[in-house]
């Protein structure tokens, strides 16, 4: 232990003596790890957002298709589905998109019966709407429009401005779900979206046994002509595949950057300068063993690799969760850019962080130890004279 501490102290001194080279390597590693880390953190954060989104979804969602497009469905159709085995509940839902000219984007209006919400609805401030003319909005939308609890949100309905009082705002716990959200009572949502009484946007179905979803889907399709049934588990799988594929592609695009850096590091580290070879020769001549030289070298490389990797991870974390991953987010989200801008919930999977550290530190240390081992194996006298 004492020996290792002394060797570590020597290694730190060596890094200080070669500060320029050390800093260049740390910066290069931090850049490459930052790129990789950003792609992985962003992919993970988006997957988590979609997972949370699908968790709140019903097991099955029934839509009515007219000419291949979703249309309003008769709320009474719910009665025809309640006796299908394993169906626990069928709820007609009212929701829809509303183009908001002020921000040049769609907002999502959802009718929610506050009395049916169990547990924490995820509000940052205020409460859920309980009466017509009340809404709760996503924090991002509120910030974009400059609205707070107590203010009024004006939406044009049938050519006339309809004002709703903001009674609550949603936090950034799940930005993807709540950023563009406007929650109203079902009746008020009908008014805002122009959905007539007795009609619904879709039917939400919860099952007693989620595994029965494919069977129930088939039964629903038999009973409701023109119905499209969306299975929560299939949707979740689709999201996962989408982000895994996009994240994987992005990471694959970054592989050349990592390879280029490792090649550069190899070039720099294998080309031990005459001074470094001479130093190894001196160390051996004054009584250092090959193992001592290698241990000092491993400490040096590990310090560089760990510093670079940690700096890179911190940079990636700040880039993704503080700066919102400008540039990279669009590459992962594809065409469906989200408006208003969302803030992803900060999170770092320790396993993933250690995997990144391992993937960088181990090869980097290995790459640097080989030339030191070669230099340490030759006679000290030859090493001091600069022989390779």
């Amino acid at each position: 232990m004492k020996r290792q501490l002394a060797l570590l102290d020597f290694a730190m001194g060596s890094l200080r003596r070669r500060a320029g080279k050390s800093l260049a390597l740390v910066a290069g590693l931090a850049f490459v790890v930052g790129l990789f880390g950003s792609a992985l953190l962003l992919t993970d954060a988006l997957k988590r957002e979609y997972e949370r989104g699908t968790e709140a979804m019903p097991d099955l969602t029934v839509q009515r298709l007219v000419a291949g497009r979703p249309s309003l469905i008769d709320a009474a159709a719910a009665d025809a589905l309640r006796d299908i085995p394993t169906v626990r509940e069928v709820r007609p839902r009212v929701w829809g998109y509303f183009f908001f000219r002020a921000i040049e984007a769609n907002v999502t209006i959802v009718g929610v019966d506050a009395a049916r919400i169990d547990g924490d609805p995820g509000l940052a401030t205020g409460r859920l709407p309980r009466a017509a003319g009340e809404v709760a909005i996503g924090t991002a939308l509120g910030e974009l429009l400059g609205l707070r609890v107590g203010d009024e949100l004006g939406l044009p309905v049938d050519g006339e401005m309809t004002f709703s009082r903001v009674v609550g705002t949603f936090g950034a716990g799940s930005a993807l779900r709540s950023a563009d959200l406007v929650i109203a009572t079902p009746a008020h949502a009908r008014t805002l979206l122009g959905v007539p009484e007795g009609a619904a946007t879709d039917l939400a179905i919860d099952l007693t046994t989620a595994d029965e979803a494919p069977v129930v889907s088939a039964r629903i399709a038999e009973r409701l002509e023109g119905a499209r049934v969306l299975d929560k588990r299939l949707l979740r799988r689709t999201y996962e595949l989408t982000f895994d594929t996009r994240g994987g592609l992005l990471a694959a695009l970054l592989v050349p950057a990592l390879a280029a850096f490792l090649l550069l590091a190899w070039e720099r580290l294998t080309g031990l300068g005459a001074a470094e070879r001479q130093e190894i020769g001196v160390l051996k001549a004054v009584g250092w063993g090959t193992a001592d030289v290698l241990a000092a070298r491993i400490w040096e490389s590990a310090a560089i690799a760990v510093s670079g990797a940690v700096l890179g991870l911190v940079a990636a974390y700040l880039y993704v969760f503080w700066a919102g991953a400008p540039g990279l987010a669009n590459a992962l989200l594809g065409w469906s850019a989200i408006q208003p801008p969302m803030e992803l919930a900060p999170s770092l999977d320790p396993v993933q962080a250690f995997a990144i550290l391992g993937a960088v530190v181990v090869p980097f240390v290995a790459v640097s130890v080989v030339p030191a081992w070669r230099a340490a194996m030759i006679d000290p006298d030859r090493a001091m004279r600069g022989a390779s």
């Binding site: 130093e279 160390l283 004054v286």
Partner: protein, 239 residues
């Protein structure tokens, strides 16, 4: 042989400092075979100051490396204080060298961008770092060699003579019984060269065995030298 060499030193108290038998060092360069040292047999008693003298390329440095266990001979054997180091594994040879041999090379041997003190304490790093006693010894050596006031200076700021003395202090910091020096007076003016010769004689008077390889007559012809070995083309010409 004990790992640290100390016990072995006591066990072989009557053995000569160095006993070399039929030493050869052959280098292969493509199809050429070059014998840097050939058929050298030497017995160096304890407590003497010897000089290996010869022109550049005569094999002095190579012989010195083999005598100190730093170079492995292609043929022959070397015993330090009675213990054969020729066939030891690398880490055992390192242990013996660390405790029994102080090497002082030409000015190449100080690590740049380190202070004089750090250079002197360098042999102690693999032993877990310098203790207070080691630090006091290092201070005392630097004072003795007249560079105590330069202990914290970077080695680049030292003159040639000061560097040589710093290297000598480093070679002695573990108090080895055998000191080997390669061209200790090279590039030194006469005053500095004579100072170094006086220091070597002092070390011998302390009871150490000192062997210096040189082609410098200021050292080789000094009356305090006990014996001069002349070398040419890798062989001992005259002893």
């Amino acid at each position: 042989m004990s790992a640290d060499g100390g016990e072995a030193r006591d066990d072989a108290a009557d053995a000569p400092a160095i006993a070399a038998e039929g030493l050869r060092k052959r280098y292969v360069d493509g199809s050429r075979r070059i014998d840097a040292v050939a058929d050298v047999t030497l017995t160096v008693p304890r407590g003497q100051l010897w000089v290996l003298r010869g022109p550049s390329g005569s094999g002095k440095t190579t012989l010195l490396g083999m005598l100190g266990g730093m170079l492995v001979p292609s043929r022959g054997s070397v015993a330090l204080m009675g213990d054969d180091v020729t066939h030891l594994r690398d880490h055992h040879r390192t242990e013996v060298r660390r405790h029994r041999v102080g090497f002082v090379f030409q000015e190449l041997s100080l690590v740049s961008r380190m202070s004089v003190r750090e250079n002197v304490l360098l042999p102690l790093v693999p032993l877990g770092g310098a203790t207070k006693a080691h630090e006091r010894r290092a201070e005392a050596l630097l004072e003795r060699f007249g560079i105590g006031d330069r202990a914290d200076s970077p080695v680049e700021s030292l003159s040639g003579g000061q560097r040589q003395r710093a290297a000598l202090a480093r070679g002695l910091v573990l108090d080895p019984p055998l000191v080997l020096l390669d061209e200790p007076t090279a590039h030194l003016d006469t005053d500095n060269a004579l100072e170094v010769v006086a220091l070597l004689a002092e070390l011998r008077d302390d009871g150490r065995t000192v062997i210096a390889a040189t082609h410098d007559p200021r050292l080789a012809d000094d009356a305090r030298v006990d014996r001069v070995i002349r070398m040419r083309d890798g062989r001992v010409e005259e002893a």
